[in-house]
Symmetry: C2
Subunit: 175 residues, 2 copies
């Protein structure tokens, strides 16, 4: 059975939407997610975001993030044909750990603690596929990397980019 | 650089000593760690331990465990010649996660969150060595498994057994 490693933030959990909300609240800005596809606007937003990045260490930050469309349905289907691990670079944020466990239990109850991995680096994870939004994780991966599209990775080239969970379904579960 | 994955409980952190204390307190018994080398006494103890195993889910359980002798010194030396990851099957115990991070920061500050892994299964970890006390983790490991001696693994055969961190130093850092 082939193995898939799936990142959480900006792959299963739409943290960017929440970070835009927090940026707008705390920096008195008015960014919308769609605007961030424009690299110039993204860079402006990112400068503001860096001022509020410390919110990632706050209690509650990771517990109530929205789930990406179709992620629950497709992950469940993937589990029928692959060994699926959730691999989240979470150890940087101590308070995120139990919140992420609870979030997974709520939205992806078929994963279970056995297939949940919280780490820093990911290059010691052995899998056939890694679905992730960050180059630092994909670049050293020895299987097939899939770049999940996100505003902050618009500039990355050389990776197969996926835009939605439906697209992942078509790619990894062809009819 | 070769990579070593090191388990926490009963390899770096002497959780058995603490579990014996809790068993004695709550089951009104009087076991000493040395006695548990005797398989008959171990089985008696283990029946009592199972009655208090739920303590693993309690707050504070993992924060103040004693460190194994020489572990700090040898891990630091290993880091000079290997990439060292701490890999703990901790996601079963949600409250353990931040406590384990704090414990590592206190006793092994050179590891850092980047090289800390909390997981369930460990068979997706790619490394050259795995130092662990449980067969379930060692049996599927594709590198060289090293069995850290513990009362509960006395019956295991077919693994290279190590009894102390000084012995690991001699094995992995030969002069």
């Amino acid at each position: 059975m082939k193995r898939i490693a799936i990142d959480m933030d900006d792959v299963l959990a739409d943290i960017t939407t929440r970070l835009i909300e927090i940026t707008n609240e705390r920096r008195n800005t008015n960014y919308q997610k769609d605007q961030l596809k424009d690299p110039v606007i993204f860079q402006e937003y990112y400068a503001e975001y860096k001022q509020i990045r410390a919110c990632l260490y706050e209690t509650g930050m990771f517990r109530n993030l929205p789930v990406f469309e179709d992620a629950q349905d497709v992950v469940k289907k993937l589990q029928e044909q692959y060994e699926v691990f959730i691999v989240s670079a979470a150890t940087e944020f101590p308070k995120s750990l139990t919140e992420k466990l609870e979030w997974l239990e709520e939205h992806f109850p078929t994963i279970g603690w056995q297939h949940t991995v919280f780490c820093g680096h990911k290059h010691m994870i052995k899998a056939d596929y890694l679905i992730d939004d960050h180059e630092k994780n994909l670049v050293k991966f020895e299987g097939t990397p899939l770049l999940f599209d996100a505003p902050h990775n618009y500039h990355l080239e050389g990776y197969q980019r996926v835009y939605s969970w439906k697209e992942i379904e078509g790619l990894l579960l062809p009819q």
